[in-house]
Symmetry: D2
Subunit: 359 residues, 4 copies
Amino acid sequence: MSGNTFGKIFKITSFGESHGAGLGVVIDGCPSNIRLNLEQIQQELNRRRPGQSDLSSPRKEMDELQVISGLFEGRTTGAPLCFFIENKDAKSEDYKEWDQIYRPSHADYTYLQKYGLRDHRGSGRASARETINRVIGGAVAKQLLAEKGIQIFSYTEQIGHIKMQGSYVDYNWPLAFSNELNCPDSDSLQQMLQLIEKVKREGDSVGGTIKCVIQGCPAGLGEPVFEKMQALLGSAILSINACKGIDFGAGFDSLHMTGSSHNDLFNHSDEGIKTKTNHSGGIQGGISNGMDIVFRALFKPVATIAKAQNTIDQTGREVSFAGTGRHDPCVVPRAMVIVEAMAALVILDLYMENQAKKW
Amino acid sequence: MSGNTFGKIFKITSFGESHGAGLGVVIDGCPSNIRLNLEQIQQELNRRRPGQSDLSSPRKEMDELQVISGLFEGRTTGAPLCFFIENKDAKSEDYKEWDQIYRPSHADYTYLQKYGLRDHRGSGRASARETINRVIGGAVAKQLLAEKGIQIFSYTEQIGHIKMQGSYVDYNWPLAFSNELNCPDSDSLQQMLQLIEKVKREGDSVGGTIKCVIQGCPAGLGEPVFEKMQALLGSAILSINACKGIDFGAGFDSLHMTGSSHNDLFNHSDEGIKTKTNHSGGIQGGISNGMDIVFRALFKPVATIAKAQNTIDQTGREVSFAGTGRHDPCVVPRAMVIVEAMAALVILDLYMENQAKKW
Amino acid sequence: MSGNTFGKIFKITSFGESHGAGLGVVIDGCPSNIRLNLEQIQQELNRRRPGQSDLSSPRKEMDELQVISGLFEGRTTGAPLCFFIENKDAKSEDYKEWDQIYRPSHADYTYLQKYGLRDHRGSGRASARETINRVIGGAVAKQLLAEKGIQIFSYTEQIGHIKMQGSYVDYNWPLAFSNELNCPDSDSLQQMLQLIEKVKREGDSVGGTIKCVIQGCPAGLGEPVFEKMQALLGSAILSINACKGIDFGAGFDSLHMTGSSHNDLFNHSDEGIKTKTNHSGGIQGGISNGMDIVFRALFKPVATIAKAQNTIDQTGREVSFAGTGRHDPCVVPRAMVIVEAMAALVILDLYMENQAKKW
Amino acid sequence: MSGNTFGKIFKITSFGESHGAGLGVVIDGCPSNIRLNLEQIQQELNRRRPGQSDLSSPRKEMDELQVISGLFEGRTTGAPLCFFIENKDAKSEDYKEWDQIYRPSHADYTYLQKYGLRDHRGSGRASARETINRVIGGAVAKQLLAEKGIQIFSYTEQIGHIKMQGSYVDYNWPLAFSNELNCPDSDSLQQMLQLIEKVKREGDSVGGTIKCVIQGCPAGLGEPVFEKMQALLGSAILSINACKGIDFGAGFDSLHMTGSSHNDLFNHSDEGIKTKTNHSGGIQGGISNGMDIVFRALFKPVATIAKAQNTIDQTGREVSFAGTGRHDPCVVPRAMVIVEAMAALVILDLYMENQAKKW
């Protein structure tokens, strides 16, 4: 398995499995002499942690951040940072009975085809527990970006068919950050929560979308051609477990527009050059234009459900399978911090690349 | 500008501008001793070429393939392949009057912010003429994949609000490949063509979606974590000019499903292990599962339109701008071969990476 | 600090400091379903370990290998392997008094200039203790190469001015592998050991050269132009602490030859095509030719010595400095396994790259 | 063949063969809005050009620089630069009779083993004519470095057994830059020239060493661990055709020193912190220390000689071979500009990487 390193200048390398010793991340390329706020990293981890509420898996993990390397008296030394999170509540026996089964829409079959063996315990490396490493890397990236005035946040735009109406700019943000969906519209919020509860009761699951907003990003980030900002964000976000789609700005709604209504007209305001609308999602020609960068990530319904379904095992025999492990009825609440983390890694890397070429 | 190289083992490096000497691509990592079919590459270029029909820009370019290096007596030598296409019908004067204007939703403003100067002629490097290089690289990749039984094709699924109904598996494919939208449904086809004609008459433009299907891909391609197959395809497709979204399999439609209806159940057929449905789009855990790989690419309405719109120039003065160069009312017809090319590059690279690790 | 990842397909990422929690390495891209011999890895670590004899630093570390991830029931799963070695005998107080001093020919000054701060404890990341990670990565690589019939070994060719005469092919190898210099010539061995003892008594240090031989490497490995085999080996070997030079085959001795005496003439023997001499060191045009690959690595005298020398501290004040920590009078005995490890990583990566392109 | 791209941020991609259309280089990652001095690039190409004197191959090529992309009104646009040099005096017939022969110490055998076919014309991609691309890339890099006060030059230190005595700092530099060996010592120069003439008359060839000096490089460049400055320079220089060794600072002479004589003692001078000696060659812990960076590159005797030698052909039959093409008796005169170019690429890339991480 390759592909466990992300980034070009600020790079993270992820290791660990759901039911091994733990999860770890190496961060290479971090500027030196930066005082890291470890508590803030822990808070981001807490946003991702299971067992936080009725909406998420009951696995109990404290996910306590351990510093392995790269810090000296609280500051980055320029050496690779390594952080580690132990697995403490791994219940491998939950998975023992499935070790021969190809669970529907899981990675069991594909891993076995690819690797010739599989670590069946909690999906091994395919587990979303891997995303801990992204959250840590992203939390460090956010701290560096914040020093440059760049902020990243996200909210739940849709759960199943329940979609929040209107634009994020018109909403009540203190409300959003006090509920577990980061949803600023209290009506939509109630309906979304009810829907998640309903599918949970039915032993089923539901998908949703997350809107992510990057504010304060200067114009000029993104590399034309293959490393356009939307291409790198796309790669970053689509690498998150259960993510099956992404669009930018007006996105798929632009199918109902023409060029004349979709084009963002430039004007000169007191704050400098802006566009009147932001259908481009802050990116033009693959490069940030100084407006908010806005994209939407789609998460499919979770594959593991309590309802029994037919599938086959490794011998080809048909079997019935019902999930009994600890799983979420909807990944959206816990996925927001992961989406933000991946976005932070992309923006930081592009920022550093841009800085490299100032002459 | 970085980001002009794509791929890890089979790599293409793109150079050239819309109104310079021409466009060129260097392909590094191609297996040696392969007889390349140059005519087939030219045919792919012809699919992308402007001036082919009423639907596309009237710029007249033959886009004739020149071999610069890497072939000896018709076979790849293992040395880097270089192909070049001269610019012959570049009319830079068309653009002269705009050289100070920030065209709406174009890269003029962002390039100037990033680079401190800009080559205004035909958008310079930001021009979609750059995609010639991708088509050449993709055409070589397709030939290599075909030897392994892997085929890639695409069709127009939607133009503006006109959407083809049903699944691609039920359609009349000979029809599809004889029309310029590769649309297999003659009713939808007529409506789509009419819509494109209508927006063109109105001096406007329209967007659409392309569905791309990869057949014959073995199970096991894709690298978990950051280089999941959907992440790499996402990066590849979102790097195409005017592409603003992508989804895989059931994609955004999965918002109307639950886990129990979305899960693809495995069964054992005469052709081996298959899934009954393909909502996953052939990818599970980031790895191909042997089913068709299916994704949808969104293209926004073209930014350049004949209708006048207000914008500003580099001095901040408000000006009216109407496109007078040669542009398409809809990029979808010419974008299909580009989408296929980028998909081919991704699949080939993953194939080679997998092969590297067989022990 | 970047540059903590080595390799393209088989990649190692190194983390940890001399006086932090420990040293760790993540190996990404390892073929799956391979049974690793952990004892063999430990034996390689033991070859590098300090405190083994009078010739090396008295720091007492067991350097016991811990498996963190990537193994399931003894086999590689395809997930990233992570191994960790705790620091147990770190005596940071040894270094406390030096924390403001620029030790001569050490990295104190350059680290401070680069990073704006430095972890003075045992040189932090600049410590040769980092090479533990290379030895682990190389030990895994050696196991994979051995399955393909490729063997790597090394011996001490020179300590100070004492140089072993003749060619390695004529020597008594069982003798070599039973002494700590891997020196097959007992006369030279005695003189070398005496020289090391002498400089140690004098509170001084001495350099030397290591000859490394790669046997069984098939013809055809190495990528022309920038990734010639000698270029990649050069980069790998010169990245080892205290290494200041490398040459291949006849190397600097070729200054005393002409083309007619240096050229290796091909002939056809019972074992296939061979060259009569091997002045090329097994590499022609950057590609292995099937002969033994032979290179020589130069290690300078260790910078830390017990003899006092004048230098300055961070305030610019002149001070006298004498090393009191635990250091080797000569790095050669412990560096051999590191040289082999780095060579193994290069050869394995080239092997995998070659395999990727078979069509 | 991979490995045709060099660099991480400032990257060059090389293409073309000795006897194809020509040689070309794509430069990606160059800062924008830089006015390039094309004449200076041409002058560097002239230093490498054959047919300049009796010491070099009589192939007559003007090697005239063509700009293909990336410049607008004399300035870099941020788009990839592409430069091209046509092959005009390619005499493929010179090589026709050898197309089945494995020339001694050439890449004929290794290429055939690796690729399954070979372009025998002028060694195809294995020809040193490829180094044109490096010279162009390096010439651009030198211009960027010069703006930061960094200068790179080189001179011939040794031809065969004739070695220039003393240190470069004591020499007459105007003399050096007016002779084709850049040798500042007129006695050594005469002996070296006589030796080259002698081996040429005898139909033979001779090797030599080039000393390269980088002045004005700030302290702090180089990335610890795998991308130490000497590792990257090593990789760059050893990738040049016929280069078989490299050492830094005192290099192999340090075998005759101990730690106490080799250590460079820091002192505080009017010009800031310096070392009294420079046995480290300006690099400590893999990072530049602000002193001159000094290394020596070894070039073996040219393999193609007029003297007949025995070898075999592809059928295994023994044959006699004598070079009749156009070849140099010694590569050193033409290799200096290539060594400088590769060094410039490394230093520039490290400079940009460092700049990326300033926070």
